[in-house]
Amino acid sequence: DVKVTQSSRYLVKRTGEKVFLECVQDMDHENMFWYRQDPGLGLRLIYFSYDVKMKEKGDIPEGYSVSREKKERFSLILESASTNQTSMYLCASRFPGSGANVLTFGAGSRLTVL
C-alpha cells in the first residue's frame, strides 16, 4: 500500500515563526497536494505539484509556499505563521494514471499558532 507520511502530527508555534510541514510518499507518485482542513469548511487546496520542481497554487495559497526538490517529498512552508493558520494540514499524493485519480492521504499535521 502507498504510504504518505507526515512527520509532525502535532506542532505548536508562535506568531511570526517560520514553519515547515514535511510530507513523504513511498510509491513514486508524481502528483502531491497540500490541503487545509477546518470545521465546516471541508478540505481546501493550498498548493499542489504535478512533478519535481513544479508547483501550482490551489484555492488558498496566501501565506504559504511549497518546495518539491525530490519526487517523494513535498514541503509546506509558512514563512511567518499567524493565528489564522491554526488548522489541520493534510498531505496527499496520487499517480496520474487513467480513470479517476484516487488520492492517498497522510494522517495529518495539526498546527496551533499562538
Binding site: V4, G99, N101
Partner: protein, 113 residues
Amino acid sequence: AQSVTQPDIHITVSEGASLELRCNYSYGATPYLFWYVQSPGQGLQLLLKYFSGDTLVQGNKGFEAEFKRSQSSFNLRKPSVHWSDAAEYFCAVHYNQGGKLIFGQGTELSVKP
C-alpha cells in the same frame, strides 16, 4: 464556480438504523465522484468512487452510493449502521483526469448505541 455541497453538517443515527448522507455538485458535466471517510485522528480513506457505467456503486464496509445525473447528486447509503462507522464523511469531485479534487464541507456521523 465548481462546488460540492453536503447539506448536513452533523447526523446522529442509532446503531442498526439506515443511513443516507447527501452530496450535490454544481457543475453540469459528469464528474468523477468520490466518498472519503476520516476516522478520528486519521487521514482520509477512500470509501468508493464513480467514473462511469452503473450508477449504483458499492464500496467498503457495506456502503454504497448512487449517482443521479438529473439531481446532480451522489448520496452515500448504508442499510445498517455500526458503531464503528462514526466518523466524518467527505464527498469530492473532479472533472477531468489530473484535475483538482474539490471537497464538500463534510458530514460528521455519530452513532447512538
